[in-house]
Point group: C2
Chain length 453, copies 2
């Protein structure tokens, strides 16, 4: 199974048939496509932009190899001259983008691609795929971290993410959005994210007695031992952990913590905390896990559950209550002409855009969605040129820097908008320039398309 | 961004810490782990097994490279002797598995790994990840194909699958489960799946007039032209398609179809069919798409919507109403001892298993979940040895053969179990041998773990 992370064939066939259509009618003018989210999924009032780094990597490496061309020829769909054209094709355009970790709202472009239309079209599928996934997970993770009210949230999702790519991106996006660490070893290696992990139920059950498993693990990890205590009975497990902690103390070691992975986490957490405290083990931490999401974390925080950190897996890693975003990549300008779509429920705004963000007294106040050429003093323009002539303009920022910036901006967003249930809507107005263009383009569409037949 | 499809670091850290624990206490006996789904997601009554091919690829290639070892050393978590051990480690075990495309039911092992416990433990994360994803998507796709009642279902999901790996696996799993084709070009290349695709709204809006876009596309694809008619107004689009179809006919060409991607698909399909039929274009097909899932497809089939095929994307590709399975990989046997877990809501059945399937008069009757050593004449044993000593036992079956077998078995499953809403439960009994073992193991657990403290 050779890798497929970078192939130019990672596209929908219609991108290639359209490209041949453009090629054959010599339609090679520059175009701008805008990537935006049409509406909020349930309970969401903001998004955390993510995925740009992979998009830029893909665009820099974009090319069709000989095997790709051979395969396309074998389908019988394409003309020989078009395949020759594809063989030499590279991405030569520009990308304007909201930096990763910045907040974005519905209808706002997360990125825009300005390039000859064939190039901009062929990269659509990959761009949507990656920004959809990573923005969705970063948003979900930010909700989990917010709901945990200061307790560390650890990404445990790799085993149930939708594939390997998702597992890697979930680790990165959740760390960007405030998680403390991940269980994903390759993500630790690739992205420099702190990794954590201790033991599973299988380790316990591989020993004849639970306490033998505890003792063996404590011997292997004298300074970093967290015991999983719910394999058979959580409270009995906690009492065995106390026994092992005392044995460790006699050797000058220290039990770091216990983990509870099933059952009523609120009640069990309290009982286990009591057992530990009554045994003089007040500094032994408790980790909670097992099917948690932001709603569970909020309930645990409300109940002042005595957990020190949470492992959050599946439901964060697949964004279980909203496993896809209504994200679209739409042509907004072509050959100097602004364009839009008027399909039922899928209207797009014309023109290359800019987002103007107003901040006052360290609070986000409102955004103005305007045109790329506009300028509003006092507002921060969010879309930055990230690529020109097919090359990155600046080195990639570090993941730590992106995370720091995210946390700062998130702090400045009103609690009502951050709420994990029924959030308030953050105000996004259309600029006068965009309003004019919308009206004009709409008028042209109605005149050309809807009056003629 | 180098590939990460195959790295042995694609694992949760606790697999490695447990491995060091096993290594240091010299626990190297063979173990058997069983992969099964604990319960049905909403509205499901069966699963379509998928993912085995990737698991076998992964196991055959399993090894830690020098960079992997260097990274692990840099974490400061691992002992030098253990890292030396990892450097030479390969997967040397056996895999018993339900072949891809066969039906499985809850609690039944989709696969079992029998190997020295460290090896079987380290590969857990990858195995769960791939079988979870692929089984989930194959199951979802089978529901879509079933609901479409004979109309072709095309996989359109790549742009919104959760990452690239998911996009590739969704194309393969959905084809396995009855889809006719995919829009994913790389999946066409890699897996030999037929690819389809025509045009997007951006192609239309790149022309000043919709009809110019239609004419240009018809010129480029005289024998394979499907026009997207909903960019501005679907019925006006249909009338322009009629104009273009007549122009094509004068050149000896034939308009293959039109596609509707938004709005009320049932009403629009009927109106567009009328427009086409009244213009003598009865053989021009209609393709429906736009946010469809099995529930929409069933409603369209019930309304006798005049579509010839459907493009089904996001909701199938992320299994939107059930984006993860409650799948687990549990130690069931170790060093000759049967083991189980009794955590709240997460009980596992002990022992290496076999599924015995009873079929009569071409109908699936019931399964008996038993032990690997048992045998029941008249029943088909479903788990087959797929790998021994770390090597595949037989060449991989072709995707076409797997699909053919799936379709035949699916036909033999009662309609009540296949229903996309409130399905009946397929009968799975425990064999006498498994019942005895369960009772015995449970007794031991209670005696050892729950009585002692």
């Amino acid at each position: 199974m050779p890798p497929f992370n970078h192939s130019a064939l990672l596209t929908d066939l219609y991108e290639l048939t359209m490209a041949q259509g453009y090629f054959q009618c010599k339609k090679l003018e520059p175009a701008t496509f805008s990537l935006f989210i049409r509406k909020y999924p349930p309970e969401r009032g903001y998004f955390v932009a993510a995925g740009l780094e992979d998009v830029l990597d893909f665009l820099e490496g974009f090319s069709f190899g000989d095997q790709d061309i051979d395969y396309l020829r074998s389908t019988g769909i394409f003309a020989a001259e078009f395949l020759d054209f594809l063989r030499g094709l590279r991405f030569t355009g520009a990308v304007w983008a909201v930096p990763e970790g910045r907040l974005v709202f519905k209808d706002e472009p997360i990125l825009e691609v300005s390039a000859p239309i064939i190039e901009a079209q062929l990269v659509e599928t990959f761009i949507i795929n990656q920004v959809n996934l990573q923005t969705m997970i970063a948003t979900k993770a930010s909700r989990c971290v917010h709901a945990a009210q200061g307790r560390a949230v650890i990404d445990f999702s790799l085993r149930r993410t939708q594939g390997i790519d998702a597992g890697m991106k979930a680790a990165r996006a959740s760390y960007l959005a405030g998680c403390s660490s991940t269980s994903n070893v390759l993500a630790g290696h690739r992205y420099g994210i702190p990794i954590v992990g201790t033991m599973a139920h299988s380790f316990i059950s591989s020993f004849e007695r639970e306490i033998d498993a505890f003792r063996s693990f404590a011997a292997s990890f004298p300074t970093n031992c967290i015991l999983l205590i719910d394999t058979y009975d959580t409270l009995a497990g906690a009492r065995k952990a106390v026994t092992v902690a005392r044995e460790m103390a006699r050797r000058g070691h220290h039990l770091r913590g216990v983990r509870i992975d099933s059952g009523d986490l609120l009640a069990l957490g309290r009982e286990v905390r009591s057992i530990l405290d009554e045994s003089g083990l007040k500094d032994v931490k408790i980790v909670g896990s097992g099917g948690l999401d932001e709603y569970d974390l909020a309930a645990l925080a409300d109940g002042q559950a005595p957990y020190d950190s949470y492992g959050v897996g599946t439901k964060m890693g697949v964004s279980a209550d909203a496993p896809w975003l209504d994200i679209a990549y739409k042509l907004v300008e072509h050959g100097g002409r602004s364009v839009m779509k008027t399909s039922t429920g899928k209207v797009s705004l014309p023109g290359a855009k800019q987002i103007f963000r107003y901040c006052r007294e360290s609070r986000l106040r409102k955004d103005l969605l305007g045109l790329r050429g506009e300028s509003y003093p006092g507002a921060e323009p969010l879309l930055q040129k990230a690529m020109d002539h097919g090359k990155r303009i600046a080195p990639s920022p570090s993941l730590e820097d992106l995370k720091t910036r995210f946390l700062a901006e998130y702090e400045s967003l009103d609690e009502g908008v951050r709420s994990i249930r029924s959030p308030e809507e953050y105000p996004v107005d259309l600029s006068p320039g965009l309003r004019d263009l919308l009206e004009k383009t709409q008028g042209q569409v109605y005149q050309t398309e809807l009056g003629e037949s």
